[in-house]
């Protein structure tokens, strides 16, 4: 309980006696103005709540003796529950598919074509894997006397969305978001045991999310997956976002159960944020910290000066007010650059667990903010109008094209002042001043994709267009 008397919000679990009507989750975000609908939906509320709940669990804990307990990777202090160990088994089996489908050794452009096969094997095997590693009563939960399918269809959709695009041979934060939703779905179905003070949440982050991120890195390296939506050097990271959130929490000041989530300061003995440019520090810290493990991966795959290929992370490393400040900024940025970005969230499907229904507590965002960010017939910059005059960080994010299926629009002048909902112990639904984050994450570093229409505008002459183009939608 907090000092202000309000309880820390956690993702509510469904009543197993009265489950909702599960449905195969479907696409709801078709145009960019649908993003503003998403931001007042129950699904958004649930995802943000779950994220903040996991985030808070990674802050070190103050102990009664005046010392503190931090939560490094592979910490002995974190016990993994049976469901967490089962999910580790699931990840292991997903990883095993890599040995079954070695990367193609033939000529290639960048992304390895064998990843398509890897993805297909996973898709074919998904139901079997879920049945092996998730409890039957959870998968088979369904509302009585209904013809609706069981919860499995919803879990499977988020599970399969977590592994990059077999078609585009890329991976980005949209896929990472899907895995977060997969875990949130299990949570809502009661698949994780009750616990106090973030015990189970910590096990989820360290026992499931961290190995997931490692597995994804293996996939990226093995099949040379492209960033889904790279801003080149001007994004936070080519592929991921969550490790920067949880990793900065690991290094933030220790808290009591009742404390507000810190907004600045660092844990005594934490590495300096500036250490990200020191390879020896990164090598040491990546073994125990999620933020540094992500930085370490950048070192693994990129050659060149850090400040040049990762200028945003470089600038963040200059923050003097501690990891708490970085953590707060990362959550804000995730909200703006991942959850509010059409190209990223457009692929997130909605069902009964993550519902498209409006959250009754949600405050309607400023209407104009997102209304301009949809697929438009033409969205060229006004001749003499600058898109924005603020420094706009942008994460790579999308799993898709710039104007394909979306737009590319001028970022609004709105400042990213999203409320740090849950971590401030308030409903995470107030999205009132969300920035326009409609900047389209561009295509992967290989081909740039057009920010225009999702569907082909015209048929090529010759008539045999669609059937002859293997990758065309």
């Amino acid at each position: 309980m907090n000092t202000d008397g309000r309880s820390l919000r956690i993702l509510p679990k469904l009543n197993p006696q009265a489950p909702p009507n599960f449905i195969t989750p479907g696409k709801k975000i078709h145009e960019s103005h649908d993003v503003s609908t998403f931001l007042v939906s129950k699904a958004y509320m649930d995802i943000m709540t779950f994220l903040l709940q996991l985030n808070r669990s990674m802050f070190p804990s103050k102990l009664p003796n005046g010392k503190f307990q931090d939560w490094p990777l592979h910490s002995d202090a974190v016990q993994f529950s049976a469901p967490v160990r089962q999910l580790q088994g699931l990840l292991g089996r997903v990883e095993d598919i890599i040995t079954e489908v070695p990367p193609d050794s033939g000529p290639r452009r960048f992304g390895n074509i064998s990843f398509r096969k890897w993805h297909q094997v996973l898709t074919d095997r998904a139901s079997e894997l879920l049945r092996e590693f998730l409890p039957a009563d959870l998968l088979e939960m369904r509302s009585p006397n209904s013809e609706h399918p069981s919860a499995e269809v919803e879990l499977k959709a988020y599970f399969l969305g977590s592994w990059g695009s077999g078609q585009r041979l890329d991976y980005g934060t949209g896929h990472e978001l899907s895995f977060l939703a997969f875990l949130g779905a299990i949570w809502k179905l009661g698949g994780f045991p009750q616990s106090a003070d973030g015990v189970e949440e910590r096990a989820i982050v360290l026992g499931v999310i961290e190995p997931y991120l490692e597995l994804v890195r293996t996939l990226i390296k093995t099949y040379t997956l492209e960033p889904a939506g790279s801003h080149g050097v001007w994004g936070l990271d080519d592929h991921s976002f969550l490790p920067y959130i949880f990793g900065s929490a690991q290094l933030s000041p220790a808290i009591h159960e009742a404390d507000l989530t810190p907004e600045e300061g660092s844990l005594p003995g934490a590495p300096d944020p500036g250490d990200v440019v020191k390879p020896s520090c990164v090598e040491k810290e990546r073994k125990v910290n999620l933020y540094f493990s992500a930085i370490g991966f950048i070192y693994d795959v990129k050659k060149g000066p850090f400040w040049e290929h990762s200028p945003m992370l470089y600038d963040i490393s200059g923050i003097r007010t501690g990891w708490g400040k970085i953590n707060k900024g990362m959550v804000k940025m995730y909200n703006a650059e991942v959850l509010s970005k059409f190209p990223v969230v457009q692929h997130l499907p909605f069902g009964a667990l993550f519902s498209w229904d409006r959250d009754p507590n949600a405050v309607t965002p400023v209407a104009s903010v997102h209304s301009t960010s949809g697929p438009q017939t033409r969205s060229v910059q006004p001749e003499n109008e600058a898109p924005s005059t603020t420094v706009r960080p942008n994460t790579d994010a999308s799993t898709r094209a710039p104007w394909a299926s979306t737009e590319a629009n001028p970022p609004s002048r709105a400042r990213p002042t999203v409320a740090l909902a849950g971590s401030r112990h308030e409903p995470p639904s107030f999205t009132s001043t969300l920035p326009n984050t409609s900047r389209l994450p561009p295509g992967p570093m290989a081909p740039t994709r057009a920010p225009q229409a999702p569907t082909m505008r015209r048929s090529p002459p010759g008539g045999d267009g669609p059937t002859k183009a293997p990758w065309a939608k």
Partner: protein, 436 residues
């Protein structure tokens, strides 16, 4: 030393010039570019370059490997900006060189030279970060609108002057016979030959060998081989419409012109002349001929296909063959797609992708390449030119005349990313609003 020379010196050192100077530069560049046609005619010798994407230090490496401006004649096929850290330095330097040596450097437009794309892929962010406002971004975008859409290289030699013996006798290098001519050569950044291919000299169209290409469309069954020997053939410079049989003799081979364009072909464009009709001085549209030229990709398909990029099309080898044939071209040079080896010839050499950003995005591990086309001096170095008259000879040729066009000798210089040790660490900039 003029202001322009000073700006060039400063940019070569990777230091930006003041905003007022950028404004002036962009104004001058526009004055210059507005006079250029949609398809610029360029005489060989010329060095053709692909995507740069703000990789300034690698651009310097490119100049080291390929020779400096104005000593070497350059043609850059667009995508100067976005993704890399130094889009501004790279583009402004190229623009300065264009203004200073307008006849020695040609810049054509890539799909990233657009307002919409640069606000998404990084160049806009870079301008804000480095200049504190969008003014410079706006000046640059105004220049983008005036960049040519393509270029035609004329007067390229079919034969390369050998650089020297290969350093390695790789199996893919064919061994020359006595009278073979050197067709392609690949050099590393130290100028050593790593591969070369030859073709027989003095062959006629009737004894086409494996290494020559008959560019008539595959479906053109009316052009029976026996008929081609005596058919009238153009001897004027290819791609110019100068079609008279200038030598008075039945020349059976000639070096075709090379069309350079950022992306590729368009179903709406069947002749180079049609490119000339586009009103190009605008933001890149989302569809149509201008869009396609900047967005399309060749692919192993027949005919046209939908592009996964959501703009432009995929086009197959038959499309390229037909287009080259109808336009008297021997080669389409384009950029737009990362290729690990720096260059990639497709469709019997009818099209080549040239990629000039090594270790793209700091991680792709690819090498980069530039393509040198030599000057054909056999004709005394004169080149018949006739802008806008292109393709007029089609009626003369008739449908049963198959023209055997010899492709130009192609020297690829392959290079790797510039060494990094000379770059110091800059001061950290203020962080994004999220972290304030």
């Amino acid at each position: 030393m003029s202001d322009l020379d000073r700006a060039i010196e400063q940019l070569r050192a990777c230091r930006l010039i003041p905003e007022s100077q950028v404004r002036e530069l962009c104004y001058k560049a526009r004055e210059l570019l507005i006079e250029e046609g949609n398809v610029v005619s360029v005489d060989a010798p010329v060095t053709i370059c692909g995507d740069i994407h703000g990789q300034f230090h690698d651009l310097m490496e490119l100049f080291r490997v390929g020779g400096d401006v104005p000593d070497t004649n350059y043609l850059f096929m667009g995508d100067f900006v976005d993704r890399g850290f130094y889009s501004l330095e790279s583009f402004l330097l190229l623009l300065c060189l264009k203004v200073r040596y307008p006849d020695r450097i040609t810049l054509i437009r890539g799909n990233h030279e657009s307002r919409q794309i640069t606000t998404v892929y990084g160049f806009y962010d870079e301008c804000i970060r480095k200049y504190g406002s969008a003014n410079v971004w706006r000046y640059c975008c105004e220049v983008f609108d005036y960049l040519a859409l393509g270029a035609i290289v004329l007067g390229a030699s079919s034969e390369l002057e050998p650089t020297g013996p290969p350093i390695v006798n790789e199996t893919q290098s064919s061994m020359p016979l006595d009278d073979d001519e050197l067709e392609t050569e690949v050099l590393n950044s130290r100028g050593e030959v790593t591969m070369s291919t030859y073709r027989p000299r003095n062959r006629s169209s009737s004894d086409s060998s494996d290494t020559s290409r008959n560019i008539s469309p595959p479906r053109d069954i009316s052009a029976a081989p026996g008929q081609t020997a005596g058919a009238p053939l153009r001897a004027g410079a290819p791609g110019t419409g100068a079609s008279s049989d200038g030598n008075g003799s039945a020349t059976t081979t000639r070096t075709g012109a090379v069309l350079c364009v950022h992306g590729g072909l368009s179903p709406l464009i069947d002749s180079v002349d049609k490119i000339r009709l586009i009103d190009r001085k605008q933001e890149v549209p989302h569809e149509g001929a201008m869009c396609d030229l900047l967005w399309s990709d060749p692919d192993e398909i027949e005919g046209w296909g939908l592009s996964p990029r959501g703009a432009g099309f995929l086009f197959g080898g038959d499309i390229v063959k037909q287009f080259n044939h109808l336009n008297g071209l021997s080669l389409v040079a384009r950029a737009h797609q990362l290729v690990m080896e720096g260059y990639k010839e497709m469709f019997d050499g009818g099209i080549v992708t040239v990629w000039s950003a090594p270790n793209y995005c700091y991680r792709c591990g690819n090498v980069a390449a530039i393509l040198e086309l030599g000057e054909d001096t056999s004709n005394g170095g004169t080149i018949a030119r006739s802008n806008g008259e292109y393709g007029r000879s089609n009626g003369v040729l008739g449908s049963n005349a198959a023209t055997t066009v010899v492709s130009p000798g192609r020297r690829y210089r392959v290079f790797e990313a510039a060494a990094q040790d000379t770059r110091g660490m800059p001061a950290k900039k203020p962080v994004a609003d999220y972290f304030l």
